[in-house]
């Protein structure tokens, strides 16, 4: 029989599962069922933070069947990612997809929740969402109470089988589009795009944590009276801002003259309406930089330059 197009597609999908599976490992770091992980570097495994329940006694089952102990390099609860180091074993790193995910694209969700081997489910990219204010469930490791933050995320209709968290979403050629996790959206499965996940992994590998900028203010969200809204630039015209209710000693805010009673409405040209906005603006790249902070002080708009510190 001629190899028809259906046979070719089926073979291609199975090959994609096989190829992606070569960099998909079993991560044993929690009670109950194991989870999955992606080989990020020959001796580093990227997985979901929420499946790494204990910092010690972590073991990894590699695609070739070898079992290796692993240690925790670092974790980032905000993006629900954790980086592990293989102790005494190496594996084949996953290949990043060259083309970013597109809605409608065929994808496979892969996992290795058991010793029986790789598992897969088929679907398409349903949506590319942004930005995302997640809710990670494990307050013990929480860096801030408000939940996770992702600039962008993928949603698919692939079935997330038990133990798939931490595993890859792969394209039809087996390259990795992202990391699947059910730890960010109240148990629903979403996918962290590879470019974001890899950036976090890079930072975890280098610093052991995600570098986060620091202002040194305590604040709460307040409504801005209509009269005051009118004095703001149109792009800052928001109904809420952050009222400064405390300033930490020796902090960048104290040094550069932020005052209790200021209402933060913008930073570096972007509006600040909630804590998450400020958190997102205070990325690792801002550390040591002088950044313009827009405030309402005594009802009048002012811009104050603050050299951002590191938390």
């Amino acid at each position: 029989m001629m190899e028809n197009i259906l046979v070719q597609l089926s073979d291609a999908l199975a090959t994609a599962a096989e190829r992606g599976g070569e960099s998909t490992v079993l991560v044993n770091a929690r009670r109950r069922i194991p989870a999955s992980g992606i080989v990020y570097n020959t001796d580093q495994i990227l997985t979901a933070n929420h499946v790494v329940e204990h910092d010690e006694d972590i073991s990894i089952l590699l695609p070739d069947g070898t079992e290796s102990p692993a240690t925790l390099i670092g974790r980032d609860p905000a993006s629900d990612l954790a980086l592990l180091k293989l102790e005494g074993a190496t594996a084949t790193p996953a290949e990043q997809a060259k083309i970013p995910a597109r809605v409608g694209q065929i994808t496979l969700a892969l996992g290795r929740p058991s010793k029986e081997g790789i598992e897969a489910s088929l679907g398409t990219i349903s949506a590319i969402g942004r930005p995302f204010h997640g809710h990670h469930g494990h307050g013990r490791h929480g860096r801030h109470g408000g939940g996770g933050l992702l600039d962008r995320y993928l949603r698919t209709d692939c079935i997330p089988y038990p133990g798939f968290s931490g595993g890859p979403l792969v394209a039809a050629d087996g390259t990795v589009l992202g990391l699947n996790t059910s730890g960010l959206a109240r148990g629903a499965a979403i996918t962290i795009p590879t470019d974001i996940a890899w950036k976090v992994a890079e930072s975890l590998a280098k610093h052991g944590h995600i570098r986060q900028g620091y202002l040194g203010i305590r604040s709460q969200t307040v409504e801005i009276p209509t009269a005051m809204q009118n004095v703001l630039k149109p792009e800052q015209n928001a109904e809420t801002g952050l009222l400064v209710i405390g300033i930490e000693d020796e902090s960048p805010a104290a040094k550069d003259g932020l005052m209790v009673g200021d209402i933060l409405v913008g930073m570096n040209g972007s509006p600040i309406r909630h804590h998450d906005d400020l958190f997102a603006q205070l990325s690792g790249e801002t550390i040591g930089q002088s950044m313009p902070i827009d405030v309402l002080r005594g009802g009048q708009p002012q811009t104050i330059q603050v050299v951002i510190g590191e938390r």
């Binding site: 599976g21 029986e116 089988y161």
Partner: protein, 223 residues
């Protein structure tokens, strides 16, 4: 959705790729459908079955066969009384025989299944006759039967519903990979691998396994 209506609804605007794809699907469905039968018991609705041999052997789930052998409805709408040849609640398989000599059996897959390959389930979900659902082979697992026996099982992401039980799970070539065994929970579509089906039939016909005297008490799943 009936396979015939779904796959014949092609329109001219399809790209050559999608056109060829749809045609391949159509051929697959046409090839498999003659081997799908419908089983009707005295007190319950339709289950599915597979024509295993041209001379009237039908393979289905044990739990689809109640206390009395069901009536087999063929694709040409003939309705035939069946006789129970063998059943094994442990692997949830039953072999029926009907008076016929001109049936179209399915070929068992002779290559080992690959994770990620496309699979198609044929059956009568919710009584909707001759439906096809598609997906991929998700995992090869080990399940434990009621008396602790380890049995291999195929998991796919194909959606199954009551009425799919006993129907074939086929590959893109229309060869049997397994026998769907409908499980609650939608995303846990399981199938008994074809190797077990072959072993079961062989044992049944060699006389080692006859209808067990202690009949099963319920139609619950055995895995």
């Amino acid at each position: 959705v009936s396979a015939k209506t779904e796959f014949n609804d092609t329109n001219g605007a399809l790209t050559p790729f999608l056109g060829a794809f749809t045609q391949s699907l159509n051929e697959l469905v046409e090839r498999v459908l003659p081997s799908l039968v419908s089983l009707r018991g005295r007190r319950w609705g339709a289950g599915a079955g597979i024509v295993w041999r041209a001379d009237g052997l039908i393979l289905t789930n044990n739990h689809v066969v109640g206390r009395h052998p069901p009536v087999v409805q063929l694709q040409d709408d003939r309705e035939v009384e069946s006789r129970l040849v063998a059943r094994d609640p442990d692997v949830d398989l039953a072999l029926l025989a009907i008076e016929a000599s001109d049936l179209t059996p399915l070929e068992p897959a002779n290559t080992s299944p690959r994770i990620g390959e496309m699979v198609f389930a044929f059956g009568h979900p919710w009584g909707q006759r001759n439906s096809v659902t598609s997906g991929i082979l998700s995992a090869m697992l080990i399940a434990h039967s009621q008396n602790g026996k380890q049995i291999p099982i195929i998991r796919s992401d194909v959606s199954l519903a009551p009425g799919n039980s006993g129907g074939p799970l086929v590959n893109v070539r229309g060869e049997v990979l397994g026998l769907s065994t409908m499980i609650m929970g939608g995303d846990q579509s399981l199938a008994i691998p074809v190797s077990m089906m072959k072993d079961f039939v062989e044992e049944a016909l060699s006389g080692k396994k006859y209808e067990s005297r202690h009949h099963q008490h319920s139609s619950e799943r055995v895995l």
